[in-house]
Point group: C2
Chain length 113, copies 2
Amino acid sequence: MLVRDIDQIPAVPYGQSALKRIVFGESEGAPTFVMRVFDVMKGGASSHHSHDFEHEVLILKGEGVLKGDDGDKPFKEGTALFIAPNERHQLVNTGEDTLRFVCMVPLSGEVSP
Amino acid sequence: MLVRDIDQIPAVPYGQSALKRIVFGESEGAPTFVMRVFDVMKGGASSHHSHDFEHEVLILKGEGVLKGDDGDKPFKEGTALFIAPNERHQLVNTGEDTLRFVCMVPLSGEVSP
């Protein structure tokens, strides 16, 4: 078993004014999927892209919009987002505070360096 | 894309004084892994068991201990837990408030009824 405080995990820059932490991944022996936590500063956003694997996201703090081909969908703490493979998407922080979310991907979506 | 408020998802009883919500699973077209959210009332606990698939857990609210064969490990909001396949485990609410956590499993660990 591994027990980690997510704030103690080293963060790397990501997207526009965002930070990414890999909580459990290939390096920790995760067999199937990877937990990542993102902090998006005020005015920032995740990458606007699509890929052949899914996201399952839970908003932990803050608010924003999920941009997709079918328009913008608002979210806040307690909102969960499912983004299917190949759906174009971007999470934008539209609030006054930092946006934090946990985003899960299959192992193939997050290969360790 | 699916956008869901986790508090609006129907909950079912689970473990000892706990509730379980399946946020995204087989029914929602999840290809690889399943997001579940658990609320454990004061004094309650998840099931004490082991199984052949992993858990990746993030504590959202409250505090407690992860019971395992190597002892008790405390957790609180912002703690992440990795429980490897076949590790015996139980999450116990030791706080005054409801414990809430998100717990991911591979698709094989959560088959829709």
